[in-house]
């Protein structure tokens, strides 16, 4: 039996790495991957702590819903990225600065 704290450590590291990817990479698709990594780390937390609850399936259901919402989010985000590329010919977020100044 593995203690819940180990799961929490792993998820903390995954969350931090996802955040680092999100703020380092200058490419919208790779930034999206970072967001996915962060959502996954949260899922690990939910599943690991659900084992301590009186009803273990509540937490598991929650992580299932998070997965579905993440899939929906990726679909919409990729559609927006494709549209952005049609207009601006770039997906570097630093170059999409039309509203600046």
């Amino acid at each position: 039996m593995i203690a819940s704290t180990y799961f929490l450590y792993v998820s903390a590291i995954l969350f931090a790495l996802g955040f680092a990817v999100l703020i380092t990479k200058k490419n919208l698709i790779v930034m999206l991957m970072g967001v996915e990594l962060m959502l996954n780390a949260v899922n690990v937390n939910f599943v690991a702590l659900a084992r301590n609850a009186s009803d273990p399936f509540e937490g598991q259901l929650f992580s299932l819903f998070i997965m579905i919402v993440a899939a929906a989010e990726v679909a919409v985000a990729l559609a927006i990225i494709l549209k952005l590329r049609q207009y601006y010919k770039t997906i570097n977020p630093d170059l999409l600065d039309e509203l600046k100044n």
Binding site: M1, I2, A3, S4, T5, L8, Y9, V10, A12, I13, L14, F15, A16, L17, G18, F19, A20, V21, I23, T24, K25, N27, I29, V30, L32, M33, E36, L37, N40, N43, V44, V47, A48, A50, R51, N52, P56, F57, E58, Q60, L61, S63, L64, M67, I68, A70, A71, A72, V74, A75, V76, L78, A79, I80, I81, K83, R85, K89, I91, N92
Partner: protein, 178 residues
């Protein structure tokens, strides 16, 4: 299944397997951070997601592990690969494939601070020991009962959300005639 359960109860072996899966998950994420090739980054994410699926298995969440593989690896990642392919056509295709790293060291430092802080918080938590196993509960049965009784409103809302996303995404991405 019996054999698997018996092996799982052997503590040392479970810890070793946990360590392997955790290394796979963290290694894939670190590869995504350090690589400069967008396609290799997607493969790193794939590795990381599979490792997390293994972690779910070790946490007695078989159904979540399977849906992780089906939704994330089979759905989200394929969608991202399609996004890479679709955005890398036409003129200046190099731009879509180019990955520029800025403030590499600074963001690694921030990541270290975040994970260190969260780790310290977890270290100070007092968590009661988790249950050994759920006994003779049919996982899929119990999850389905929850979905159809106490969480049925959530299920309906998720269905509506998926419909809205389906219509909205295809409307946004459609090519305008010009």
């Amino acid at each position: 299944m019996e054999l698997f359960q018996e092996i799982l109860e052997a503590d040392l072996l479970a810890q070793i397997v946990f360590g392997i899966f955790a290394l796979i998950a963290i290694g894939g994420a670190a590869y995504l951070f350090f690589t400069k090739n967008i396609l290799y980054g997607a493969y790193g994410l794939l590795t990381s997601l599979l490792g997390v699926a293994g972690l779910f298995l070790l946490a007695n969440a078989e159904f979540i592990a399977v849906s992780q593989i089906m939704i994330y690896v089979g759905g989200v990642l394929i969608l991202i690969l399609f996004g890479i392919m679709l955005s890398a056509n036409g003129k200046n295709k190099g731009d879509a494939l180019e990955v520029i790293n800025v403030n590499n060291l600074l963001s690694l430092l921030i990541a270290l601070v975040i994970s260190g802080g969260l780790g310290l918080m977890v270290f100070n938590l007092k968590i009661t020991n988790a249950v050994e196993s759920y006994g003779a509960v049919n996982h899929i049965n119990a999850l389905g009962m929850h979905l159809m009784t106490s969480h049925v409103a959530l299920l309906e809302m998720i269905g509506v959300l998926l419909l809205v996303v389906l219509i909205g995404a295809s409307y946004i991405a459609k090519r305008e005639k010009s």
